[in-house]
């Protein structure tokens, strides 16, 4: 029983979300999963893949297919399904993962289950019935579902599975893969635009300093920015802040923004609406700064400071600087 896992890379390393997807893929079958990668065969992160128990890597080289083209990527997966007789295809529930898997569903006429938390074959293996748990409402609700399809097309909720290497590493065989593309498969292909930040991204930052309506306006963010810089983190905001136009939407945390997984989320002047919590519930530690001791955020935070963020945050910045930390 082969399970294929689409593996996304960033700067030559497997992304954190794909490590989680690999961990999930491994749980679906006793056989080691196969990885599918797009990039130079020579640059395959072989050690990581082997440590995650991957025994086969199907690699599509840039000479065959360069850049991100969702439909072409799905075409490659469709061909690999036929070639390997895969019983499941798995990807991380990232923008690209969901997109490629939805194309694969459309190409093959199969259903696609997004944001799965767990999956297991139901009944005797090979019947193509699966029991799934998947997220709805960005994880605020869980759906128990039955999937009748072979292979099962699944994306893995990023905040539902921890990345865990296999007990025993596998021996990895790298196989180049020759895609046979159809007309139009490359009509939509990404060009990475230059001149962008390249700094720490909200999704992967170790520290996020959150600001909500309590910040009061676009000018109130300077101390939060300063604190974030001191801690090597970034600023994240609530939807009120972006819909007021105080900060760009790319900084929004929540159901319709970004899901974050930092060590520390310091939520300042944020009430803790469930759609906001949907984006930050996977933070290792949440600390709230709020002037209202009854704010719902206090039921999600581990620690809180009750008070005006305009006093607390500048004082915190001063205290951290006094320890000799600078930006």
């Amino acid at each position: 029983m082969t399970v294929l896992c689409l593996v996304e890379q960033d700067g030559g390393a497997v992304t954190d979300a794909s490590l989680r997807a690999l961990t999930f893929a491994r749980s679906l079958a006793t056989d080691a999963p196969d990885a599918v990668l797009f990039g130079e065969a020579a640059g395959v992160p072989a050690q990581t893949l082997a440590s995650y128990g991957v025994s086969g890597a199907h690699v599509v080289e840039p000479g065959q297919l360069a850049g991100y083209a969702p439909l072409a990527w799905a075409r490659v997966l469709a061909a690999l399904i036929s070639e390997t007789g895969a019983s499941a295809v798995v990807a991380a529930a990232t923008d690209r993962g969901n997109e490629v898997m939805a194309h694969l569903g459309a190409l093959t006429g199969l259903p696609m289950a997004a944001s799965c938390v767990s999956a297991a074959p139901a009944g005797p293996s090979g019947t193509g019935q699966w029991r799934l748990v998947r997220q709805r409402w960005a994880g605020l609700l869980l759906e128990d579902a039955v999937l009748d399809a072979a292979p099962a097309l699944l994306t893995v909720a990023i905040d539902a599975v921890q990345p865990v290497p296999a007990d025993t590493p596998a021996t990895l065989a790298v196989q180049p893969c020759q895609p046979e593309l159809a007309d139009g498969d490359l009509t939509v292909r990404a060009t990475e635009s230059a001149g962008q930040s390249g700094g720490i991204s909200l999704a992967s930052a170790r520290v996020v300093v959150g600001g909500g309506r309590g910040v009061g306006g676009p000018d109130g963010f300077a101390p939060l920015e300063e604190l974030a810089a001191l801690l090597g983190g970034v600023v994240g905001v609530s939807r009120v802040v972006t819909s007021e136009g105080w900060r760009p939407h790319s900084q929004q945390v929540g159901q319709t923004g970004t899901k974050i997984t930092p060590e520390l989320y310091l939520a300042c002047g944020i009430s803790g609406a469930i759609q906001h919590i949907a984006g930050c519930a996977s933070a290792k530690h949440i600390v709230a700064v709020n002037k209202d001791p009854g704010a719902p955020i206090l039921a999600h935070a581990e620690y809180a400071v009750i008070g005006d963020l305009h006093e607390v945050i500048p004082a915190l910045v001063t205290a951290i600087r006094a320890r000799g930390v600078s930006t």
Binding site: N98, G199, R206, H249, I274, I306
Partner: protein, 252 residues
């Protein structure tokens, strides 16, 4: 430019989500309904596009009779036409939903140049209706878009990618799914509201079809709700806060 926007009626969930006793749906006795946020932005984007390039905006929803409210919300903002694909209240899966949207797109003459959808519906979050529609129509599709420019039949679309951006360029007709943040939706005007109230809504009743992904039940995840330990009040709490950050290992 003929633009069709697909919007879904979803409950407005407040402080928490409550599931009905039979676990089959969200308890909406106390909640209102609205268009999913990404799709509110899709409506706004469609209106802005036709303001720039001319043409008309149609909105479509597949849902119960009451989903006409969401169509009227979009009409009040400036959509010209509305189509209700009326259901008997059962939940439709993404495959069947896409098929019904495709049937409507084919029914419409002279035909649409652009279909705008949300990246994912706020409730079911299936992340696929737009792509399935595009495949059936044989049109290109991009998802999660936060910026659209159109000139001479060519679309330039951008989205976020790992803290940076990626861009796509392709021709019309096309399907684009958008994310909140692509624009700030306007508020309806009074004349807009009045016009929407009187507008005729085209109606069809597509037959329900089962998806091979079947929901068995819904439940709210168990999270340990801890009540936060209060470190202190105001700036006096700062020493305790610094000590905590140190303990958590986030101080450089």
């Amino acid at each position: 430019m003929e633009v069709l926007v697909c919007v879904k009626r979803v409950p407005v969930v407040g402080g928490k989500i409550v599931v009905t006793a039979d676990g089959q749906e969200i308890d909406t006795r106390m909640s209102g309904f609205a268009i999913s946020p990404h799709e509110e932005c899709a409506v706004e984007e469609a209106i802005q596009i036709t303001e720039r390039l001319g043409g008309a905006v149609s909105v479509l929803t597949l849902g119960p009779a009451a989903a006409a409210d969401q169509l009227r919300d979009a009409l009040a903002l400036g959509a010209g036409r509305a189509v209700l694909l009326e259901t008997d209240g059962r939940e439709w899966g993404p495959v069947a939903t896409a098929a019904a949207i495709v049937a409507q797109a084919r029914r419409h003459t002279p035909g649409y140049d652009l279909l705008l959808l949300g990246n994912e519906a706020a409730d079911t979050g299936d992340y696929q209706v737009g792509i399935r529609v595009a495949h059936a129509l044989g049109w290109p599709c991009v998802t999660g878009i936060k910026h659209i420019e159109i000139s001479d039949g060519v679309v330039r679309a951008r989205r976020e990618y790992r803290g940076s951006e990626e861009a796509f360029e392709f021709g019309l007709p096309a399907v684009i799914t958008v994310k909140e943040g692509i624009n700030l939706p306007r508020y309806p005007s009074l004349p807009g509201r009045l016009r929407a109230k009187r507008a005729a809504i085209e109606q069809h009743e597509p037959p329900w079809e089962a998806d091979s992904l079947r929901m068995v039940g819904l439940r709210v995840p168990q999270t340990e709700r801890k009540q936060a330990t209060v470190l202190g009040t105001g700036a006096d709490a700062v020493p305790a806060l610094v000590a905590l950050l140190d303990e958590l290992g986030v101080l450089p």
